[in-house]
């Protein structure tokens, strides 16, 4: 992309503004939600970092195609979505979701978070903390151990004298309860 194209991002191409600097501001603003989107699609943290970078490189290359009416974060996620799918095609890794629709749905969930009040991504998901507090202990504890203390499901299973499968199921149920809680709090749109 040349500077003239990039200048169209600002709508004021004659103004001496560095397009890349503006791009960086937008990237920084949307970095957390993009990372969360990638983490939802890809388990491997290294792959998340790589896909993040690839998303940025493609976004900059295609910045002339960006429709300023659309939220920038959603546009980035659109690029990231395709990269996630390509990542699975390329690596032949097992895709952890059954359909591309899952990614599209996650994208819409992210858009709902984007619309929350708050300056930062953390502020926008602050309701999640309260939802965790409201979980029954049998669900809250594995969440705190697994995510808060980075304990493996194996470790939690041994500690609680149960099986790894049982812990994985409990974590899954806990996450779905948290999603329902976020719906009740109107952070997320309600589902049927």
């Amino acid at each position: 992309m040349d500077d003239e194209d990039a200048g169209s991002l600002t709508g004021q191409s004659s103004r001496p503004i560095e397009p890349l600097a503006l791009f960086e501001v937008l990237v920084r603003e949307n970095a957390d939600s993009l990372t969360a989107f990638l983490r939802a699609g890809v388990e491997d943290q290294a792959a998340v970092d790589d896909l993040f970078q690839e998303t940025m490189l493609i976004a900059w290359r295609k910045i002339g195609e960006y429709d300023r009416v659309r939220p920038f974060g959603a546009w980035l996620r659109g690029i990231a979505r395709n990269l996630v799918l390509a990542h699975y095609r390329k690596s032949a890794r097992e895709v952890p979701f059954s359909s591309d629709q899952v990614l599209d749905y996650i994208d819409r969930r992210m858009a709902q978070i984007d619309r929350q009040s708050g300056d930062t991504f953390d502020e926008k998901i602050t309701a999640l903390r309260d939802c965790i507090e409201r979980l029954e202990p049998m669900y809250r504890e594995p969440i705190e151990l697994h995510y808060g203390q980075q304990k493996t499901t194996e470790w939690i299973a041994q500690r609680t004298a149960t099986t790894r499968d049982a812990i994985q199921k409990r974590l899954q149920r806990a996450r779905l309860q948290l999603a329902q809680c976020l719906q009740r709090k109107a952070v997320l749109a309600r589902t049927g």
Binding site: A36, D49, D50, R108, L178
Partner: protein
Amino acid sequence: MADDIDSNPPDIQQQADDRFVHALLLHMHDERALQHREQRVERAMLALREPAGRALQFPTWVRRTAWAAAAMVLVAACIFALTYSPTPALASLSDILGALNRPGDRAYHIAVQPPDPPSQGKVGLDRATLDLRDGNQYLLIRLDPKGGFQFDGYDGRQSWRISGGQVAETKEGLGAGGLGLTETMSDTLFSDLEPTLKQIGTDYTIERFDLAPLPAGGPPLRHVLASRKSRDVKGPVVIEIWADTKTGMPRRIVFDQAKFQGSTQPRRLTFDLVSEDVMPADWFTPAPHTAGKIGASPRLAR
């Protein structure tokens, strides 16, 4: 538009909400979320700002599919880092690592301590051999626990993999590996090698910059030992390099207390230069390594 969410089948909704909340929880509990975000953004912006850096930078999938490419990224990254922090020690480091890019053949043995338990049955990196030519061709030969070797190579034009004596995949350009990657090859250390080394100038302390022999003895070599300044820095705790005093060619590169993905135990990775002999002209192509051509991996087999 966001709220046409009911149009999805319930199982799709559940899967998506499960993964969505999983991602939010990961973010919420990432104590270094801010630092990680800055690293990601900086890394991306650096790639966009620096045409020279971009030219040196291997694409993501190269770093993830080829160990040799990772080694070359190491070279590139170090040289690149020096443009930012040209201290004498770092300049010497650049010289040392730049030697790997010079024309010629060289072979490194790789040791991982502690290695993967044999019971895991993975194609690991311990006891692998990494052959390099001219800084742009490579051959990684790894022991396959099921028997034989696995070869991953790039001849400057085509990348390929041989597994079980058969050509499993070839691809124009870098990145053959539509095949699943081993866990080892996607280890954080290697995929993040470039940013790690870019941080040497800022996040690592050069502890030693002197002449020292290898621990086992021998003539004095150029020696650089850099240690991580803080636990917040992602990367091995210690990076240590011994190099030939005249040519700058690394004789040994060590990443100590490096954290591998999928393992909580820090490990030590050592590359030892075992040969600078000229290899056969077609050594970096699949032909010499296919079934029926035993002796394809002489250094490893010896």
